[in-house]
Every structure is written in structure tokens, then in C-alpha cells.
Symmetry: C2
Subunit: 521 residues, 2 copies
């Protein structure tokens, strides 16, 4: 049987929400229903408790003695009210360890992010793992169309792919930045797309107060809930990057304030590249990461105690020849795993990433990504951002890399499925039947299970060399192109209440008529 | 600076044993001195103690009730003398759990394998990790020469590469089978090559008594030691594969007997592909793997108590469409990790592998290999066989894959290097100097460390997209071709005492004149 002749009953479908009364088209790849993997084995602690304490201690010394620049007056006031000091005439905030450690005690250890489709709610924390599509790429690429700056059509196609794959639990931001939309209204069009083309949780950018408030309102309308319910049920998240070293910019602080006051989720992620925006030693970069993360997390709790928050780690090394960031390196893995240890110390869910520095979907992209996933999974990542699509250190979202990553994530999810050990799986009777020197191909035990016994990969080509060569020695890249096109063709918009659709459209139209977010260009 | 213009002082060399009085040529890639990585963090247990006990118990039931075919009369006699039973008129050996569990108590938990160069001794067990070159491929391939059946020239070139890379601690077997040498004398030529072209530990095949005895003698002569010292110091290893399900073939049993009596190392590795030679459930395949491994390990101890032995795991799934083995799959990872749990239960060092099913050095080869390494490292592998070169489920040893794997192994070794946490690495002074909003590129802390701060990859291309595209969009494959050729050109034979070289040559000449190993073709 050739690889394309898969019997249709061998394909597992699920989680497809076809319109009522209309049978869903067969989806082009095998996928399991939407479900969060759970990591049931212990995380890997690569530094000792003493070493972790030393990193923790250094980061608190940074906050006490060096301080963080807060580029927002309201935020500085909140910090001062809580006991921090601001050097007169400056924006430098210093906070003692007691303040920080007290503030973060109100962080929830686990929480639920609510999607407009309740089947797509995700649990953050505990042993739950969440995969989120890549965001924030200025470019996108595919094998046929090449590399190009982002635009609305590619944006929408990537959003549709994010909705289509059950292994992607979350989306948001800009999978690629649609620069053909004016910056003043770009966020409105994009948020509207997320609210209609997907029914999963998404995230909005903290690029000023109005934009993040639009995000909160669009997420609320999409769910069809009251403001009060919205405040109780986190339904939107935002990624807060510190401007390393040791600065929290104005739009980011506005984001924490608005999201915190509405009980929405803040993912505090310093961007501490060792040797560039942080010390060249990974341990020093981690101490700085921890200082910046703790400052942002503490601030979120001072805005409103109990704000759902994640500890984000993004420490990696740079290529010392070019200054370009490197990802999926040994240093990245170690940083990702120590980041997890720190987050666990504070009992805050941990965000990490699936990232690489490769320019194309080659061996490098694969090994850097799997090393990243190794660090993320063994390091206790709860929320794995940029899980599908990422190339070139984040400069490009690749349609083919999306498919490669979907395959990798599905494999990781399958790895995380626990082995069931019982009489049926121990199969003593089958061993007895076959006995020494036989084979198991035709036994009833095999026949009853072989269809679903093993993960069926999307891209792996398991034909023998001769058959593969005869087929033209196809690469994973070529197959990936076919797959994303088929998946896009099979995309079906998730159902939406017409009244909600109308309310979303009106809101966006009104905000556009008001000029959207004022820009000076 | 382009990727080829690496300043020479940025390259780290070491472990190169140039001839006395002659400066070693610069080696084409950065490599650290020969050293075994150590896994200092806990292994990952993916099944509970109860589940492990159930697998253990099922395997002992297999040995008691179903039994194993021993295809060698002397081996059956040894088993019967120890209390096992043989069904009259058959070769079926049944052994009760008391016998098996008592026998394996004499296995050493750790031991040293001795190379003819003492700097290349390797420690097996504990937290030590050992990487061994691929063996037993019928074909080899490179990008320019294509895929071809093995021959002596390719064999020798691969052996030289095995010697050249410090991250490969061990070699042996046939990296590719040189079918241009007659089978009766092939092992003599090949063992002679290992004893002269390398000074690392190697392994010999258990393909009949005479061949394995030739291996022991050649390893002894190469080390220049007495028979008595050889018996005390394991200096050769052999891989024993059971003929799954539940058979131990005559040549393999002869191998255990001869190696055990001389105190040499036996690596007991069932080849239990779930759905083919073992039950379709991974748990059932593991129970069978464990039965076969315990039978062979117990037998090795009954031959001679204290025989250095390893528990080998090679359980994977098959492609249910073709019956071909799949590797680096989620099922493979789980099997590798449970195999480690079982080996730890018996306090026996654990052998696993770096394997894939890909036909070329593409994304698939990379992700399947890194998933394999993830399972191996987190699963507690001590001896990682087929660590460099493996393609096509073992049918081909690829020169380019060798380079890719060397890069992957060096990255894993770097990942395993512990983070040093002290005042210098915490870098508080550097953070103080730079302060909020600065950068660390030019700081003294960075300047003092940047050259060796991070792993310098062999293949990863970290140029930006435009520079990479301008260079012709090179792939890892193309760079790998250049690297293996340069490494081969830089190869230098390790020094050898002329008297030992002469004794080796004489031994091989005499054994050849005697006809080598009698074959009927």
C-alpha cells in the first residue's frame, strides 16, 4: 500500500465543528480531538536547590540595588504605594525583596483561559501543556510563493491553519504582521478575524491602552458574556516583553494595568539574550530574566491581586559572530529548564517556546525545534508559545514549518500519553500463542490493535530507499506544501451566533470610524 | 565575517594525539577534548513503580512458562546445571524467577572498558554517557558518491572518522559491511583496521566462536597486555541480539560464552519491534524485551559471575503499512525510557541508540534522531550505540549524517555540562555597569568570555536570510559534505608501538593463512 492509499477508516478525526446538518469534509491529516497533553512525569531540575537560590537571590539584589526603569507614571505610583522607591527625577524603581515576594503570593498557580467555544477552553498550570501558534513575524513564506512581508491574506490563512489543527490550543497576536493594513486599525481587523475565523483563545498586543482595551472588548463580545463575567473569567492573554535590560516600556505597563484590572492573563516574558541584552553567561542572563519577570509579575499583582499571570522565559545565546539570536541551542535548553525551576519556585505557570534560527525547513530547523521542545517539556513548560511556524529567529512564519511543527507537537503529545500497563497490553497470551521464532503480524492481538497502535506521522517518509527514490526522493518540505494547501482548502469557519457576529462587526466598524488607535503616520 | 572566516584562535582543539615531535594539523571543526559527558540530573521515569513491576513480572512469567529457545547445547547444559529445565527433545529452556534474579545479582553496576590508548578508556554506568559510532550497515552513502554497498575503502574511511571525532568514544563492528572482502577473513581485516586506525575501544561480532576469539586476541595484542591482564580488564565488547521472539542463536550464545569466560563485555540487546517480532503494544514488546534481556544477562553471569554486561533496549514500532521499522517515534521514546527504568531496577548499565528511519539527511532524519537522543538521555542511557551515521533504519551509514550526528552529540554533551553558578557567572557587576537600557556587547564581562561562552555548531547556519540566500541558500547537507571530506583529509593514524603493529600483522596473516573463519561459500 502506498503512503497515499491510507484506508479512510485509518484516519482519526475529531474536534471538527462542522456546521449543524452538514457533514465535515475529511481533514487531510490524521489528528486526535482537541485535548491538552498532560505531563505526568517529573520535570527535570538541572541546577541544585542551592544554585537556584543563588540565582533567585541575585535577581532580588538587582531589584533592590539596581532597580528597573518603569516608563509609566501610573505604574510608578502603584509601585511606590506598595513600598517601592523611585529615585527623585528618574523613572528608576527599586523594590525590596520582601515587597516582591509578598506581592507574588497572590498569583494563581492554575487557571482556565476561556474560549468562545467552551470545548476549546485551556487549563494553564499543573500538569497541563498548551501549544500556541507562532506570533509576531514580519514575514511569511511558503515553498512556492517565497518569502514576503506579511499581508492580510497570509495573516488570514495562517489564522485559519491555527484554527484547523487540534494540536494548536491557542492563537493570537499576528501570526504574520499584515503591513497592508494601516497601523491605526490593524489591530481591529486582526482581532475581528480571530474572533470569527477561530473559536479558540487568542492573545492581543499590549501596544497602548486603547488597543488592549479593544482586545478585551472583542474577546468579551465574541464569548457573548457580560463585563462582570469577563472580569471573573480570563478570556484573553497578552505577552509582556520587558525591554531588556531592566526596562518596562509604557505600552507594556499600560497592558498590565488594563489586563490586570479586568482579570485577564498577563504573560511576563523578558527577552534576555545572553551577550546582548543580558550578561554573556547563561546564569547571569537568567538572574536578569528573573529580576525582570519578578518585577512584572509583582506589578501585575499590585494592580490587582490574583491577576492570572505566567512566568515567561526567553533566555538564549547570540551568535557572537553576528549578534543574531540563536535558538534551540544547548544554552537555550539549559535556560529553558532553569526558567521552569524558577517558575515552580514561585508557583506560577511557565511559558516557554518552540524556536529555531534556521532559514528554511531543513535538518537545522528540525533539530533546533526538537531541542527547544525537549527543554520546554522536560523543563515544565505549561504554555509553549511559537509552537508552530517559527523560522529565522522569529523573522518568518513559514507555512511548511507550520506543518512540520504540527507533526512534532503531535509526536510530543503522543509521547506524553501514558503507557497503559494491564493484562491486555502486557499481551502474555499473544506471546504464548506466537512462541519462540514466530511473528506477530497476523495474531488476533495485533489485528485488533494495529490501526491505532502507533502515531501516524504527517511528514515522515517511511518507505524504503528504493521506493522513496523511485518517487523522486521527495523531501519533507514538498510534502508539507501539499499538506498546508489541503488543510487550508478544508478549512471551515467555526459556527457563530449571528447576533454576536453582528455585534463584533458593529464594534469594529465603530472603532474604525473613530480612527482606531491614533498613530502619527 | 562570513561563516568560513572563523578566526583560528576561536577554534577549540584538543584530544588530538599527533605523532611526537610533529604538530597536529588544525582539525576542521571545533571540538572539545575526548571526555565522557555525565548526566548529573535525575532520569525521567515515565511509568510508575507498580507498572514497572507488572512488566518485570510478566517477563519473568514468560521465562518460567513459555521459555526461550537456546540454540546451543553447551549453553543449555549451563542453564540446566543452574536449575533451569529443558523440555526433553527440544531446545526450549525454562527458568524460574528465583534463578534469574539470583544470577543477575553478580552483574557489575559500573565498569571500565580499556582502550589501547589509556586516554580513551571509557567508564560504563553511573552518570557516564558513552557515544558509539554506527555499526552493521550494509550500505553507505554520501552526497556525491550516492548510495552503494559497503566496501573496504568506505569501511576504512568511516573508521577514520570514528577515530577523528572526540565525541565518539567507541567504535567497532562494521560501520559499513565491506562485502568486497571474503566473509571468511573479513573480520580479520576489519579488526586489524580497528586496532591500527583507531586507539579507541571497539566491538567485535559474535558470529561464531573463532571470530569472537580473534576479536579478543586482536584487542589484547593491540593493548600489549598479557592474557591474565586481559581477563581482568574488559577491553572488547560484543552486541548480542536475541532472535526475537524468544530465541538465542548458536553464534550469539558462543559469543556470550567466549566473552564471559574472558571477562569481556556483553551487550544483551533484544530486537523487539512491536507488531512484528513482539506484541503490537509497546508494553507487551517491553515485557518480551525484558524476558529476552534477562535470559541473556542471567546466562552471561552463569558462564562467569561478574561478566561485565549491559541491558540493551531496541524496542520500537513498525510502519503498519509496510512492516518496516520506525525509529525516533513517540513509541520509540517511551520504550527507550522504560528500558532505562528496567535496567536501573536490575542495576545494570543501559544501552540504547540514536536511530531514525529517514532516507536522507533532511528534517526527518534530524527530528527522529533528536527524539531518539531525548529518549536516550532522559531515559538514562549509558551506552548510546549507532550514535553517528545511521540512516534508513540502519540500512545505510551516511557520511553526511555522521557529521550531523557529531553536531547533535556535541550539542547534547554541551547541554549535559552543568551550569556553574557563582559570582562570576551571576554577573551582578556587569548588570550594574550596563544598567537599564544598555547592552552587554562591549562590556569587560562579555569580552573576557564571548569566544568560548557558547557552543559553536558544526552545521547550523546562523546568517540572516539575505546573507544565506546570497550564498546560494546552502543546506546542512552541503556543508556536511565539505566537513567530512576535510576531516578525512586531516585524519592522522594514532601512534602505535612498532612491535605491537608487527604482532598484530603477524596474527592476522597467520589466521588468514589458516583460512580464517570457515565458510561454505
Amino acid at each position: 500500500m502506498s503512503e497515499t492509499e491510507v484506508p479512510s477508516d485509518h484516519r482519526r478525526r475529531g474536534g471538527r465543528t462542522g456546521r449543524a446538518g452538514r457533514a465535515a469534509l475529511p481533514f487531510p491529516i490524521d489528528q486526535k480531538p482537541f485535548r491538552q497533553p498532560r505531563r505526568r512525569f517529573p520535570t527535570t531540575d538541572i541546577v541544585s536547590a542551592d544554585a537556584l537560590e543563588a540565582i533567585h537571590d541575585a535577581s532580588l539584589t538587582i531589584l533592590e540595588e539596581i532597580g528597573i526603569d518603569f516608563l509609566n507614571a501610573e505604574a510608578r505610583d502603584i509601585m511606590v504605594k506598595a513600598g517601592a522607591t523611585v529615585e527623585p527625577g528618574t523613572i528608576r524603581v527599586r523594590m525590596d525583596r520582601g515587597l516582591v515576594l509578598q506581592a507574588i503570593t497572590t498569583c494563581p498557580a492554575e487557571f482556565t483561559l476561556h474560549a468562545r467555544n467552551p470545548a476549546h477552553h485551556v487549563r494553564i498550570g499543573g500538569d497541563h501543556v498548551t501549544f500556541a501558534q507562532m506570533a509576531s513575524a514580519p514575514n511569511c513564506s511558503d515553498a512556492e510563493g517565497g518569502r514576503r512581508p506579511g499581508n492580510q491574506q497570509d495573516f488570514r490563512n495562517l489564522v485559519k491553519l491555527g484554527q484547523s489543527f487540534n494540536i494548536l490550543h491557542l492563537s493570537g497576536g499576528y501570526p504574520v504582521e499584515p503591513v497592508d493594513l494601516h497601523a491605526s486599525v490593524r489591530h481591529l481587523d486582526c482581532l475581528h478575524d480571530f474572533a470569527t475565523l477561530t473559536d479558540k483563545v487568542f492573545h492581543a498586543y499590549s501596544l497602548g491602552r486603547d488597543r488592549i482595551c479593544d482586545g478585551i472588548e472583542i474577546a468579551r463580545i465574541a464569548r457573548g458574556i457580560s463585563h462582570e463575567q469577563m472580569n471573573r473569567e480570563p478570556s484573553l492573554l497578552t505577552i509582556i516583553n520587558s525591554s531588556s535590560p531592566l526596562r518596562l516600556d509604557d505600552p507594556m505597563l499600560q497592558g498590565i494595568i488594563e489586563m490586570g484590572r479586568r482579570g485577564q492573563c498577563v504573560v511576563m516574558t523578558p527577552f534576555t539574550l545572553a551577550g546582548a541584552m543580558a550578561p554573556v553567561t547563561i546564569v547571569g542572563a537568567l538572574a536578569q530574566q528573573n529580576a525582570e519577570a519578578l518585577a512584572g509579575i509583582a506589578f501585575s499583582q499590585l494592580v490587582q491581586a490574583g491577576t492570572p499571570v505566567m512566568y515567561g522565559g526567553f533566555t538564549s545565546n547570540v551568535d557572537m559572530k553576528s549578534g543574531a539570536p540563536a535558538f534551540g541551542t544547548p544554552e537555550y535548553m539549559k535556560a529553558a529548564m532553569v526558567g521552569g525551576q524558577l517558575a515552580r519556585k514561585y508557583n506560577v505557570p511557565y511559558r516557554t517556546s518552540n524556536v529555531c534560527a534556521a532559514n528554511t525547513v531543513d535538518a537545522q530547523s528540525a533539530y533546533e525545534s526538537v531541542f527547544s521542545l525537549w527543554g520546554a517539556i522536560q523543563g515544565g513548560g505549561h504554555f509553549i508559545k511559537h509552537a508552530a511556524g517559527w523560522l529565522e529567529g522569529g523573522l518568518t512564519n513559514s507555512f511548511e514549518k507550520t506543518i512540520l511543527d504540527v507533526d512534532l507537537l503531535q509526536m510530543v503529545a503522543e509521547f506524553l500519553e501514558p503507557l497503559v500497563v494491564d493484562d491486555a497490553t502486557l499481551a502474555l497470551d499473544a506471546v504464548r500463542d506466537v512462541g519462540p521464532g514466530g511473528h506477530f503480524f497476523g495474531t488476533p492481538h495485533t489485528q485488533a490493535r494495529y490501526r491505532d497502535a502507533f502515531y501516524a506521522p504527517v511528514l515522515s517518509d517511511w518507505r524504503n530507499f528504493e521506493a522513496w527514490q523511485e518517487a523522486g526522493s521527495p523531501t519533507a518540505m514538498e510534502k508539507a506544501t501539499r499538506v498546508w494547501k489541503e488543510c487550508l482548502a478544508a478549512y471551515e469557519a467555526p459556527p457563530i451566533d449571528p447576533a454576536i457576529a453582528e455585534e463584533l462587526a458593529s464594534y469594529v466598524a465603530r472603532r474604525k470610524s473613530e480612527g482606531g488607535f491614533k498613530t502619527d503616520f
